[in-house]
């Protein structure tokens, strides 16, 4: 009797404190932002929202945002479906290698992608100079354009389409295809009548994720658009904030709400499109179809290989070349090969080391704390009803789904003044970035853990309960060892994303509190692209190392936790 009471109160206490913490983290910034946007309503046409809506720059940026992310989505859909269809349905070779390489652009931070493409093209490209293929001096950098932005957004987000489509292809029951074939459908009809209509939902879902991610992307339009004075909504906010400072806050808050609304409309459009064709697929799934490519196998293999060389290998090679030349415009040969950029990074530039340690500190701290929070949260979610669980998950998704600038502006609004009671000002310290990371990435760390918990047999815990263990005891002794790999994987994913983060920190950093993302962006902006490349090379190496580490853990994780694993 006493034990039951004790267990019950322990449970309630845990539930209350975790839920309060998570709601504060996820809801407070968004609510504060909405409040700011609404506050001026009584001013009529003088309210910040109305002022923003009357400026032509706003509408121009909105159109730019729609154009670049729309075109980017189209590119992402073409690339993503080409890879998803061939890698899932055909008997093409080297599948795991192709999947890993195709997923890599998604894990490389946007500012590094942008930087490496800038090193690949244009008259200053060290790689093209070395190969003697550089366009003449004075010719324009082709990527400083709307289409350049769209191309890179497309490459960066093609893996999102790939993942969504691949999931629905893998879940496509084999029986349905075989039934069509025995009914007399040849390969062409199988594609047109069965595979395309049945995987339409996956494609729509993937396209809408790519579109919303494109709207929120900051790194690519910032590095390619700002030099050409081509502003999209996130870079417009950045430019306003960095030129005019905090007193334009009401205005940028309105701009943020505008992006949020556009993103929301994108999601609603997707749901509308999916509504008419909801069906559950019955039958044996789990194994992809094997369409024999026959004599087409080598051409298709070559096509995919060439695409990967173009979108992944060439930019990375350009990045590495740039990091090894002594100065821009010099060809890379054995004589000119120089590691001075790397030496400078370590020896002279205190800002580099500081940025590294800031980012590592933020990412490690966020990963550790989120591992703890999501373990407790996922455990407590087990005993919730389906409805409670899904509303909690949507709440947690908000800060992740909203464009990063929106969250950043919301955090500035929330923490500009000292915190009540504690009297600490987070604004201008690493603390504000840390809190923003916690809010943004809790969804990243929670997903693997909930997946792992849902695979566990309830009776394991019930047995411990009968043996007399209280809530925390059961969690530590019985459940934690079983979900540990998923918790760790979630932590690594948070680390990977946070350590390279730019969008949030671009607005929240202050002198001495730079992050790695901000550092690369600033170095490139001030023209020091050699040093920026050297840092970017290290970032890519770190990304690949963590991806490989996660791949090695794959055996111990629930299916779907690691996106690039089959």
């Amino acid at each position: 009797m006493f034990a039951t009471l004790d267990t019950g109160s322990q449970h309630r206490w845990l539930l209350f404190s975790i839920l309060t913490l998570v709601s504060l983290l996820t809801l407070l910034p968004t609510l504060r932002l909405l409040l700011e946007a609404i506050q001026g309503w009584h001013l009529g046409s003088d309210s910040p929202m109305m002022r923003v809506l009357q400026q032509s720059a706003t509408w121009r940026a909105l159109w730019h945002s729609l154009y670049t992310s729309g075109l980017g989505t189209l590119i992402a859909v073409i690339l993503g479906s080409l890879f998803a269809f061939t890698l899932t349905l055909t008997d093409i070779r080297y599948k795991s290698l192709l999947v890993f390489s195709f997923m890599l652009p998604m894990m490389i931070p946007p500012q590094v992608t942008a930087l490496s493409w800038l090193q690949l093209t244009g008259p200053g490209s060290p790689l093209l100079n070395t190969l003697g293929m550089a366009p003449p001096l004075g010719s324009p950098q082709p990527l400083y354009s709307a289409e350049g932005i769209a191309l890179l957004l497309g490459i960066q987000h093609a893996p999102l389409v790939f993942l969504a489509l691949r999931t629905s292809l893998i879940n496509l029951p084999r029986d349905l295809i075989e039934a069509a074939r025995i009914s007399g459908a040849n390969q062409r009809h199988v594609w047109l009548d069965m595979i395309l209509p049945l995987t339409r939902n996956g494609m729509i879902a993937g396209a809408s994720i790519a579109f919303v991610s494109g709207l929120g992307n900051f790194g690519i339009p910032a590095m390619l658009g700002i030099p050409a004075s081509y502003y999209v909504l996130p870079t417009l906010i950045y430019q306003r904030m960095s030129s005019f400072g905090a007193h334009v806050l009401p205005e940028v808050a309105s701009l943020s709400v505008l992006i949020g609304v556009v993103a929301l409309l994108g999601v609603m459009l997707q749901q509308q499109m999916l509504k008419n064709s909801q069906f559950r697929l019955l039958g044996h799934a789990g194994r992809g179809q094997d369409f024999a490519l026959g004599r087409w196998r080598i051409p298709v293999q070559l096509l995919l290989g060439t695409l990967l060389v173009l979108i992944l290998v060439a930019p990375l090679a350009a990045l590495i070349t740039s990091s090894l030349v002594p100065a821009l415009g010099v060809k890379l040969t054995f004589d000119t090969l120089s590691f001075s950029a790397y030496q400078e990074m370590v020896n002279r530039q205190s800002v580099t080391l500081r940025a590294f340690s800031n980012s590592l500190l933020l990412a490690t701290g966020a990963a550790m704390l989120l591992m703890l929070i999501s373990t407790l949260l996922a455990y407590l979610m087990q005993s919730m009803s389906q409805r409670q669980r899904s509303s909690l998950i949507s709440m947690i998704e908000i800060p992740y789904a909203l464009p990063g600038v929106v969250l950043a502006i919301a955090c500035i609004l929330l923490f500009a003044k000292p915190l009540p009671l504690l009297n600490i000002t987070l604004y201008g310290s690493l603390g504000i970035i840390f809190v923003a990371y916690l809010a943004r990435f809790i969804s990243v760390s929670l997903k693997p853990v909930t997946a792992s918990f849902s695979e566990l047999d309830r009776s394991l815990e019930e047995a411990a309960r009968i043996a007399g263990a209280g809530t925390l005891r059961r969690l530590i002794d019985i459940l934690l060892p079983l979900v540990a790999p998923a918790v760790f994987a979630g932590g690594l994913l948070v680390f990977l994303t946070a350590v390279n983060e730019l969008t949030v920190s671009a607005l929240l950093w202050s002198a001495g509190k730079e992050t790695l993302g901000v550092l690369i962006f600033n170095l490139d902006e001030s023209g020091d692209s050699i040093l920026a490349s050297a840092i970017a090379v290290l970032v890519v190496v770190m990304v690949m190392a963590i991806m490989l580490l996660l791949s090695l853990m794959a055996r111990h994780l629930p299916k779907g936790v690691i996106p690039w694993q089959n």
Binding site: L176, E178, A179, I182, A185, N186, M194, R280, L282
Partner: protein, 362 residues
């Protein structure tokens, strides 16, 4: 005579041999069951007939045309076969009528003829009222019937059924079994039916191929399979029965009561398994010959010679009768039926009326 012929068909997946040297001659219009435990190669055989799997060696012929040999085959879509899948495989984005009509589209049948044949097929399975429904709005049995209609719409030469009753409850199974018989009568197509359920195979098929570990073990009518199973493994797989071991018997013999009783007394090195079905064991409970062994008249002697002493191990109520397990003196255990229950440990006598000698288990 038009037939479906499998000639020494083998299928290899990497190192393992899924189907090993399978040969079958199936008459047109036959209802054949491929029966065996899971992993015996029956589904692989069906998928080779459909053209979903290639052959590693051997040939498949239909009406004297070669469908498949090693490395070469007629594509599935050109085979004019029908198939009912375990999951029914109804396309969720098409209505019932579109599902049924889909095979017709690939035979260039359009317009009035298309509509007429779709409705005819739906009427055959009594689903014409639900033609415009979507598959997810149907019950399990209704889906099964739509899948059947989709098969019969093109008048296929061969219809393949892959464990079509596995997902249905017991009540529905009985009525679907009747639908299959009706379907067979009406179409006259050759039906190949894969199942692991021996009672399903026995009640539906007129010819059964029993498979075990990739090999054909026996190819026979259901009655023959029950009465004269070839090996000890089939005897255990099909129906109830017990095995006793007797000396000086060759496999494949029907043994009558007198032979059996004489043989049980003999001992020898070469012992052959003999199947005794429960209905061929008679129990004697009323007299107890142990009480007066010295005073037995000659007639009683002969009775003793024809009965075997046994001890009751267990006795379970099975509804229409009791199932009794007994143990003979030499340790062999037998299962038999009786109309009343017996006490555990009781000493009884029994007569074996018939037995069938088997090839030893492989």
């Amino acid at each position: 005579m038009a037939e479906l012929i499998l000639e020494q068909v083998s299928k290899r997946f990497g190192q393992s041999l899924a189907v090993n040297n399978l040969s079958l001659n199936i008459q047109q219009g036959a209802f054949v069951a491929l029966l065996g435990p899971s992993g015996c190669g029956k589904t692989t055989t069906l998928r080779m007939l459909a053209g979903f799997e290639t052959l590693s060696s051997g040939r498949i012929l239909l009406n004297d045309t070669c469908l498949a040999s090693d490395g070469w085959q007629v594509p599935t879509e050109d085979r004019n076969m029908g198939m009912v899948f375990q999951s029914y495989a109804l396309w969720p984005h098409m209505s019932v009528a579109d599902n049924v009509g889909y095979p017709l589209k690939h035979r260039r049948i359009k317009g009035g003829e298309y509509t007429r044949r779709v409705m005819l097929a739906l009427e055959t399975v009594q689903m014409e009222a639900l033609a415009q429904r979507m598959p997810q709005d149907l019950s399990g049995g209704q889906r099964q019937r739509v899948a059947l209609a989709r098969c019969l719409v093109t008048d296929p030469d061969v219809v393949l059924l892959d464990e079509p009753l596995a997902n249905l409850d017991r009540h529905l199974r009985a009525s679907m079994e009747e639908s299959f018989r009706e379907f067979h009568r009406r179409t006259g197509a050759t039906l190949i039916y894969v199942t692991h359920d021996q009672s399903e195979a026995m009640s539906l098929a007129d010819q059964i191929a029993v498979m075990h570990q990739g090999q054909l073990v026996q190819w026979a009518k259901p009655e023959e399979l029950y009465q004269t199973p070839k090996t000890q493994w089939i005897a255990g797989f099909i129906g109830q029965g017990s095995i006793i071991h007797l000396a000086d018997v060759v496999p494949g013999q029907c043994l009558q009561a007198s032979d059996l009783m004489a043989l049980t007394a003999r001992s020898g090195e070469q012992r052959t398994p003999v199947l005794i079905r429960p209905e061929h064991i008679r129990l004697h409970l009323d007299d107890n010959p142990h009480e007066k062994p010295s005073l037995l008249p000659p007639a009683a002697h002969s009775l003793q010679a024809r009965t075997l002493p046994a001890r009751v191990l267990s006795s379970f109520f099975r509804g229409e009768r009791y199932e009794i397990k007994v143990q003979l003196i030499n340790g062999d255990e037998l299962t038999c039926y009786h109309h009343t229950g017996l006490t555990e440990g009781a000493q009884i006598h029994l007569t074996l009326e018939q037995g069938w000698s088997l090839e030893p288990a492989a």
